[in-house]
């Protein structure tokens, strides 16, 4: 906090008139008309500003509207500028060198309002014998308003003391009076955090990251439920944002959590009854299906500029009709998605699934892995899946069909998810290294498959655009160039595979897998 700007907490039930009287015993006080200040706090859905230690406020004070980016618990802004537009994506920020840093933090994510704080401000000006203002006090009575959750209520009153330049001694005198004689103490809680707490929310209360602390000796079925429950929470947290389509990341995170759910169900084998696994595997497959089309369009829109950039300059404008086409169909796909999210089937599915996950595990179970310590099951599953990846990868030749590459990719993904579910059971650094390794391999396999799918998709869209009479010959030809480009990149990914896989399958990495998952398996058996 600035040396000459201080905020004091005014506890509930404080006699405000008493404060004023104490001040008036010292000097005359000028009182300004009360005014109203609105602070609207913003962040991305995954709290990227908060996690970087910052707060973004939009302040509406009379007819002034400003944006302030500051550090948590610090009133002095890093960036303050007038705002003549609504906040949204990085591109919507007022231009300037300081906003660029903010834009980088936002990336592709959108700023969303977190909640509002309304303040009624009473200004007391402390005057000297010439009726000159020598310090300012602002009594700020605050209320939070969490519109999205329809909650509101009072939060603590604050008294802010501001120095007038050249009258620092008077500022210090007043600070002493407030502190020593009136017993007020400096505010220690960031206003945003207090408002969130009052609204029953935690900052950063959403994270798509898996972050478990598993107990190696706990039963495998109970642990698997814990993992799945976390994934279900992630799915549910992302439903409103997906429905309102405020940012493509909501849908993306929802889909990742759905995929992980299916993977946990089928890959942590023999912990639940087979009919439960069958039923929910299909049900989550259904979610994956109906959320796919909008995600595909999102990917096109996100990559559109990159697509355009890889075309020769004169051809770039010809691609614009494709963007228009995507936008034109977006609404329809989004509507379809929302209908599914609002359907009884979807709601029942999440409710039943939660009921199953929250129910205690049966005291005894005949399902083979259910009652084993999770560590033993994790070792088994990861080791088995690793060996499958190794086998499939080693069998790959330049002549192998594309399906083999797809199969290998699936195995790799399963392995990666398994390691991520159970990573807290293993030494952190080693596991992180393995996940990184898998990411490189998956990246290559993903390119091979996704680029082919995208090329197919583009061809299909070109066809539809022609049918709807939305594409000139130039546009179709330009899309053709793009298809060629995608296929060329795909081809390159195929060529690079052998080398990347060899890196994954090095002696050192083999040893690492073995020491982590196989050696421990033997130890587990011995115990």
């Amino acid at each position: 906090m600035n040396e000459f700007d201080q905020a004091y907490l005014v506890p509930d039930g404080t006699d405000l008139q008493g404060i004023k009287d104490a001040l008036e015993a010292r000097c005359r006080i000028g009182e300004d008309e009360p005014r109203h200040l609105l602070r609207r706090f913003h962040d991305t859905f995954d709290w990227s500003l908060y996690l970087a230690g910052g707060v973004l406020e939009e302040r509406i004070d009379g007819h002034q509207r400003v944006m302030m980016w500051r550090d948590l618990n610090d009133e002095v802004p890093v960036l303050a500028c007038e705002l003549d537009r609504d906040l949204g994506f990085a591109a919507d920020l007022p231009p300037g060198p300081d906003t660029e840093r903010l834009a980088r933090l936002l990336g592709i994510r959108r700023l969303l309002p977190l909640l509002d704080v309304h303040s009624r401000i009473l200004t007391w000006r402390l005057l000297n014998e010439d009726d000159k203002t020598i310090a300012r006090l602002e009594l700020e009575q605050n209320r939070y308003d969490d519109k999205a959750r329809e909650r509101q209520g009072p939060i603590s009153t604050r008294l802010r003391l501001h120095a007038v330049k050249g009258y620092e001694a008077d500022f210090r005198d007043t600070a002493r009076l407030l502190n020593e004689e009136l017993g007020l103490s400096l505010v220690r809680t960031e206003l945003l955090l207090e408002a969130l707490a009052s609204a029953g929310r935690k900052p950063g209360d959403y994270s798509s990251q898996l972050n478990f602390r598993l107990d190696p000796d706990r039963r495998a079925d109970a642990t698997t439920k814990e993992i799945l429950l976390h994934l279900l929470n992630t799915i549910e947290v992302n439903v409103p944002g997906t429905r309102d389509n405020l940012d493509s990341e909501f849908l993306h995170d929802l889909r990742v959590a759905v995929r992980r759910t299916r993977s946990a169900l089928t890959q942590i084998k023999d912990v639940f009854a087979p009919d439960v696994v069958e039923q929910y595997k299909d049900a989550f497959g259904w979610i994956g299906e109906f959320t796919g089309p909008v995600r595909d369009l999102d990917v096109y829109l996100l990559d559109f500029n990159a697509y355009q950039a890889c075309l020769p300059e004169p051809l770039r404008p010809h691609l614009e009709p494709l963007r228009d086409f995507i936008h034109a169909h977006y609404g329809e796909e989004q509507k379809n998605l929302v209908e599914h999210l609002d359907s009884k089937r979807f709601r029942d599915l999440l409710r039943d699934w939660r009921a199953f996950l929250e129910a205690p595990v049966p005291e005894s179970s005949v399902v083979p892995n259910a009652m084993r310590p999770v560590m033993a099951v994790a070792n088994d599953r990861i080791w088995t899946m690793y060996r499958r990846v190794r086998k499939e990868g080693r069998a790959m030749t330049p002549a192998s069909p594309a399906e083999d590459m797809h199969e290998l990719r699936k195995s790799c993904k399963k392995l990666r998810y398994l390691i991520e579910f159970f990573d807290s059971l293993y030494p952190k650094q080693e596991v992180r290294q393995l996940v990184k390794l898998l990411k490189v391999l998956l990246d290559n396999l993903g390119k091979f498959q996704d680029l082919a799918v995208q090329a197919d998709h583009l061809r299909e869209m070109a066809q539809r655009m022609r049918d709807e009479d939305r594409a000139s010959t130039d546009t179709l030809l330009t899309m053709g160039i793009l298809v060629g480009d995608l296929l060329e990149h795909q081809h390159r990914a195929r060529e690079e595979f052998a080398e990347i896989f060899a890196g994954f399958d090095s002696d050192e990495h083999q040893g690492l897998f073995k020491s982590l998952f196989d050696a421990q398996k033997r130890q587990g058996k011995g115990a």
Partner: protein, 258 residues
């Protein structure tokens, strides 16, 4: 940072009223503004209810031993600060002479303020002296309020002679304008017709004579702070400020000074 001086060799023509009111309007518009009361009588300082006292006196200030910024007082108005007068300013000429470059010392003292202020207004004492020469050299605009009388016309000619006769002052951005205009007086109207013809840089806006201006001494506030924009004198000051701002942007001085 742009420096605007309110100056006339003659006294009682509205220099202080101009500096105080324009500085207020500049701050109200959002510019970080400083007004430096260079007149040992301290009229501007009085209007802002600040004590006419400078720590260490003129000597410490002029020699550069005292940071200007430490002497600045916040006024009752947002973004508007004041560097107060001090009775010892009456010796400023003598102290300036002790410097290596006696006519550029003011400019040098003000230079570090550029990070904190967009506009600096200088309220000058009536005289022609080393202080005024310093003011001319430092300013991006030299406002000369003048009552429309024949005598005023002569002092303006004198000022122009002075500027042209001194190295580097020929390009001073001279902005004379009429102040305390009484439209009932024939002579005023006549001079307002003729004088601007021989001074192309004469400003179009003039400030009428009005008793509201005199009330500044009673309210101890800039005029627009107590007289709303519906008041013709307030409106005149607002128009004057816009014309001056545009004049500074358009001038060649802008590229070289500051």
């Amino acid at each position: 940072m742009k420096i605007i001086a309110s100056y006339n060799i003659k006294g009682g023509v509205g220099k202080t009223a101009t500096a105080v009111n324009l500085a207020y309007l500049s701050a109200r518009e959002g510019y970080r503004t400083l007004i430096w009361d260079l007149d040992p009588q301290g009229a501007a300082t009085y209007y802002f209810r600040v004590k006419p006292k400078v720590k260490g006196g003129t000597k410490a200030l002029v020699s550069g031993h005292q940071d200007l910024d430490d002497l600045v007082k916040g006024t009752d108005f947002e973004r508007l600060d004041l560097l107060p007068a001090d009775f010892s300013y009456r010796n400023m000429d003598l102290l300036l002479e002790d410097n290596k470059r006696p006519t550029k010392q003011l400019q040098k003292l003000l230079a570090p303020m550029a990070i904190a202020y967009d506009y600096v207004f200088l309220d000058c004492p009536p005289s022609i002296s080393l202080v005024s020469e310093n003011v001319f050299r430092a300013s991006h605009a030299l406002l000369v309020p003048m009552i429309p009388t024949t005598l005023s016309a002569r002092t303006l000619a004198q000022l122009q002679d002075f500027l042209e006769g001194h190295d580097g002052l020929g390009k001073t951005n001279l902005m004379p304008f009429f102040s305390m205009v009484d439209r009932r007086k024939h002579l005023h109207l006549h001079l307002m017709e003729s004088l601007p013809q021989s001074f192309p840089s004469f400003l179009k806006t003039s400030i009428p004579y009005a008793t509201e201006v005199e009330r500044m001494g009673i309210t101890r506030m800039p005029l627009p702070a107590y007289a709303p924009s519906s008041n013709p004198v307030t409106r005149a000051y607002e128009a004057l400020w816009q014309e001056i701002k545009a004049g500074i942007k358009g001038s060649a001085m802008w590229a070289t000074a500051g």
